[in-house]
Each structure stands twice: as C-alpha cells, then as structure tokens.
C-alpha cells in the first residue's frame, strides 16, 4: 500500500511501469539531512500559507529523525525565508501574503543547534541562491534526506535539484507535509517514480542507526 494508491489510477501506473520507473535505490554511506522551511508560516494554519493538519505531524516526525541523525553525527541543514519584502525579492511568487517576520522563525520543536547552518532562501529549492551545495561537497555527502514543507513546493524543488546534482535522495514519508492532500500524494508518487526513494520513517531511522559511530569514534 502506497500513500498515492487512492489517487493514481492503474492506467497511469501502467505507463510508469512500462518506462521501468520506480524501484528502490541503494542508499549511500555519507548522508546529510535538510529540513526545508519548517517555520511558523508553513507549519501552522494561523498563517495564510500554513497547514497545521500536515505541519505539526511532520514536526514530530522530523524531531525523531533529527535525534537519530545527531546521534549518528550526520550534518544537518535548515532553510527558511528572508524577512525582506522588496518586489525583486518576492519575485514571481503567485502569492500576495505579506510575510510577518515571525513566519520565518523555525518552530521551537525543531530549533537548530549552533553548528547546524540555517540557510536563508527566496525561491523554492534549498539549493537556489544558497551555499547548500558546497556544504554538501565539503562534507563528502552522497545521500540527502529531504524533509519539511511543502511536499509539492520547496521539498520537491530541493529533491529535483539534489537528484540533478547526482545525490541519492531519500524522503521519509512522515517528515514532509503540504497544504493540499492531493498535491502531497501526487508529488510523493512523482518523486518516487523518477528522482528519489519515498520510505517509511522507520526505515530511515534504521539506516541512520547503522551509521552511528562506535563509542570510541564518538570520543575522538
């Protein structure tokens, strides 16, 4: 059973099978985690672009992921928006919602640690106009675990860029959320077919647990 089973008809699935899309990828040995836009403005329905129904459950799932990632010594990156409001900064976003700076504050449950970079961005992808790419190269990363909001927006744009740069991409299903149920499910389907592996959080937690350094290594 996949989360998209009730929206993708068999006639569509047939065409993706014919193209031999889908399947599962062997994960790499050097993962990093990126947490996309888990700020008040997206997580919480009291803000125009927010959706508590999908946002808060994602917060709790990402908490579990970060705990395991920190134990394993995996590099963790956060993104959020800029607080400026000029026309060129807003660009071509088809949204008139005026950002309140608090909308760009990451929710306290997911507060970044001092050594975890928070990258400001103005567009959809976590790579666009940021230093994420060279940070990943610096750390010799081969696998990017992508989480956050929204699935069909900034998460998907980040996944497509990471895939294009030849990273193995993993999306822990419970760790992403959207403002639309159908957009969420269909983006998960599209990404799992072509660019990434959509996996249950438990599978990703196990993968990270295997990366946990031995006690000796930790103390060094």
């Amino acid at each position: 059973m996949a989360i998209w089973d009730d929206v993708i008809p068999e006639s569509d699935l047939k065409n993706f099978r014919k193209a031999q899309y889908g399947g599962e990828t062997e994960l790499g040995s050097k993962p990093a985690i990126v947490v996309v836009d888990m700020s008040w403005g997206f997580v919480d329905s009291r803000y125009g672009r927010g959706n508590s129904e999908q946002g808060w459950p994602a917060v709790r799932a990402i908490q579990r992921l970060l705990e395991r990632g920190r134990e394993a010594g995996v590099p963790i990156f956060f993104t959020t928006g800029y607080n400026d409001t000029s026309d060129a900064s807003h660009g071509r976003w088809k949204s008139a919602v005026a950002p309140d700076p608090v909308e760009n504050d990451i929710v306290p449950e997911l507060a970044p640690r001092p050594d975890e970079p928070v990258l400001r961005k103005r567009r959809a992808s976590a790579f666009f106009g940021t230093d994420l790419l060279e940070f990943l190269i610096y750390h010799g990363i081969d696998t990017l675990i992508v989480t956050g909001m929204t699935t069909s927006g900034c998460v998907r744009a980040t996944v497509v860029d990471a895939f294009s740069y030849n990273y193995i991409v993993v999306i822990p299903e419970e760790c992403v959320g959207d403002r639309g149920v159908v957009s969420h499910k269909v983006s998960l389907f599209d990404m799992h077919m072509k660019y990434a592996d959509v996996l249950p959080l438990e599978r990703v937690l196990s993968y990270l647990a295997e990366r946990r350094p031995a006690a000796a290594a930790v103390s060094s």
Copy 2:
C-alpha cells in the same frame, strides 16, 4: 472549469485560496519559447518512456505555437537528451530504460530551424547543465513560454527554475503532456497556484500575435 477540477478537492482549494495563491500574471514584452524533450522517446508509446495519447496532441498544439512564435520573431529553444550512456551521465534517474539514440531525435513535425538552438541535457530542467539561461539574458527575455514533455517531469523542473530566476512563466495547457493523467493535471494545478500561468493555447497565440512586428519592421 480547470483541467484539475476533477482531481483537486474543495478542501485543498480552500487552503490555496487562504494563501492567496493562483491568480493571473501580466505577461511581459519579451517572450521566448522553450520546447522541452519533444523527441520520439517521450512523444510516442512505442518507446518505454513515451505516451502517444498525450504526446501527439501536444505536437500539434506546439506546431501552432511555433508558427505564431516564428511570425513574431520570438527566440525559440529546444532541448533533448544526450546519446551517451555512462553511469555518471545516467546519474540517479530511476529508470532502467536503455536509450536508443533515435529516442532523442526531435519528432519531424517540430524540426528546429537552423537558428533555433537545440540544447542537450542530462537532467530534468532545461536550465540544468545547459546554456539556456545566458541565451535568455542575451535576448533580454522577460517571459518564458514552456512547452513539451513531461508536464510533471522536465516541464515542471524547467518552470520552477525559470520562476526562480524571475522570469514570468506561461504554460499553454495544450502544449504539454505526460505519461500519467493525474500527474499531468496535478502538476498543472501546482504550477498555476505558485509559479506560472497555465493558459489556453488560444490566449498565448493572441499574446504572440500582438508581438508580431509590423511589415516595415519585418523587412528590416
């Protein structure tokens, strides 16, 4: 009536309205057209990744668009894949389909003219690993009309990049196609909400007709 009306429920629409997404953008004065991957491999069902059902109607719609675009002197760009097959070139695509070089030949109905660049690419976006961006800048383009296949794949990746670079983006609905009906409709919805204007082909043809240089200008 929008093409996505039968797949996006009212409860989702409500959230997008709350965020003030959607709406229509004023188009710019210097458009260009990009035709993404209208090659045998995507257009025609005899190839693994192809879908004649959506591909050939898109061919006919793009023919009309190109005719009008050429009359208006609008720069036109094509993309298609590379014919090499190394592991690094294939990268992280989750498809095992071995490419036959003919799959990368653009269908003859849409044959590029000698002055219309054909950009080879290995990833989803027409901007990734190509010179499309600096070509647009050279011509002072402000509006990009995106067509081709597949809607949820290379078209969408191209749209997100063009939007991110601050181009006004237009998708003539009849000029794009996919291998899945639901992926097609939901990507059109997602893009129209946030990044681009999905418009009937007739509207885009009228817009191009207004750009047609006067007889005197043409003769110069």
Copy 3:
C-alpha cells in the same frame, strides 16, 4: 596609456592582438551597479586582508559613482561576507585570518540605502550562493558596472560570472582595488582583453548621466 603598460610586455600584447582581443563594447540601456566587499576587512590596512593604499581611494571613487547612479535610478547591490566561522563556511580559502565581525561591515562612506540589497556571500563571486542573478533578471539589466575589492579576487570572479551570463560588463578603473599592485594591473588587463571594458570613472559617470530620468519621469 593604460594602467598595465608597465607590466605587460610588447611580446605578450602581440599575442592578444593576434587573437583580436581587447577593443570596446557598446554599453547597454539598463545598467546596474554592484559594490563588492567594500568592508573594513578589505578597505583598511589595520585588518589582515586589507589595503588602505588602494582601498580608501576606491571608496572615494565609488562614492561618486553611487551618487550618479542613484540620480539615474540605477539598481545598486552590495556584497559582504558572512560572520559565521565554521570549517565548511570557510571552505578552501587559503587564509588563516580569523574574521572579526566588524571586518564584514561596509565602510560608512558607502552605506547602502534601505532599498539597496546587501547580499552575503562566502566565496569570491557576487553571484555564488546569492540571489544577485535573479535580481538582475527581475530588473531587466543588460549592463553590470562592477566595483569594489579585490580586483584580482572577488571583483574578477564577479566579472567572469557576469560575462558568462551574457551581461555587458564595465569596470570603472578607479573604483576597484587590490592588496597587490601587480595583481591589480594584470587582472585589469586580462579582464579588458577578454570579458569587460575597463574605463575611466569619468566615462562611466557620463554614461550614467545620460540615463538620468527627466524631471517629469522622476516625479512619477
């Protein structure tokens, strides 16, 4: 007489003439100005990487340029470094100088106005890891006037990127500076040969004066 005349021998010049490099470009109709890294750390010799001898004269020349640029309503962008000091943020810079946050403060003589973006960057080019490119596209810029420090470092990297993206590039000679006299002169030579026009500040001021909107236009 060119500033590089005393360092580039005739035997070298002969090879550049054979390649038909050099010459002058017609400037465009939509210029923008970028002021690269005119912060305490580069302008002033009291800091490790700074050089007052070239820095402060450049400050005074840029002041004149900005005054004229603001009269002409030309978009102006500033860059400076980030204040963080992690290993990945420092990256491969071959400098051990620990940055004092004040080193990244732009000198008060060149204080940006509220509507003039200050883009933070970690690498040499003003385009790398920043939103400069999409800001230029938003404003329909065709010509980039590059100023700041250092000529052979961040200025040159910015010039090469702007050239690569197909912008016409102008370097007002008095508005750039370096920590080495020879590096400064030879970079000006290299850039003037291949990528940009190195022009006297007066020429660039005249060019901007022609762009000044008429009184009526200003009041609108």
Copy 4:
C-alpha cells in the same frame, strides 16, 4: 624560487603574507583531472588565439599526467568549445576571431578515451553550462587537478569555480599555458595565494602514484 618571483614585487608579497594567504593544502583521497581546452585553437600559434610556445610544452606535460592518472583509475574530463557561431552563443567574448571547427578539435596527443567525457562549453569555466559538477559529485571527488589553457582564462575560471564548490584544487605548473607570459605567471600567483596549490608536475605524479590500485584491484 617560484615562477612569479620576477613579476611580483616584495611590497606586494608583504600584503599577501599579512593576510596569511598562500601555504600548502593537504590533498584529498579522491582526485579527478580536468583538461581544459587543449584544442588546436589554443595550443597552436597558427590559430589566432593559439600560442605554440606555451601550448606544446603543456601538451607534453599533460600526456605524462594522463598516463599516470589512467594507471591510477582517476576520472578524467576534457572540455572544448562548441562549433556554432550565433551571436548569443558567442556572447560577450571580446574576440572577433571566427572559429574554424578544427580549432575545437583536441590535439591528437591528448585524445580522450571513449570513457572520458568531452564537455562542450561556451564560456570560460569548465563548470559553466556543463555537467562537470554533477559528474564530480557522482564519483565522490574531493580534489580537482586542473590543467590546460589558458592559465589566466578558462583554467583560472575553472579553478575559482572548483574552489567555490569546496573542492581542493591542484594546478601542476607545467600542465597549463597562456598566450601571455605575465598573465600566466600572475594568475599562477593569484591562484596559489587564494584558491589552489600550484605544484611541480613531479609532485602531482607522485600523489597519483600513491593512488594506483594494487595489481589485484586493477585486474578486477
């Protein structure tokens, strides 16, 4: 003795020492080699942009490097220009030299093997408008050995980009060449100070020899 000793005065050196630039970097464990534009048009004086005096010696040095690199199983990439001649493709290059397609043919002494990608490019950097970056990421590269022509042009632009993406960059001094002696020396100085290690070819050959797989590994 460094190659730039006769052009960089002590007064300049003093400023670079004050900034703690220069020094030597520890090379990484996963190198790749890029051979930039070693085509007839640059290597040989019979073409407008070419310089046999520096080009042919660089050919012989690169031959030695490639032999050792192939023994060590190091990924090797080549670049050369496109053969098209449209205005947008030519872009802002300040050279009127009309390219003869043969100018873009890599000299036979350095003929790429079938599994060594030849990346076409229109601008200075080997990364600009190409897939070099994602190829490096695919192979998990941490160190890029940059060779070819010209030192102050496409080699330097490639070095600055590789450095910016956080690769350790090495330039075997004998493996690069320019059309100007001073531009060559000063670019080597600038790059060694800030972005890369300029090393004798012998040092780089030894480094590659240490990477040579054991006999058993080779036979697999």
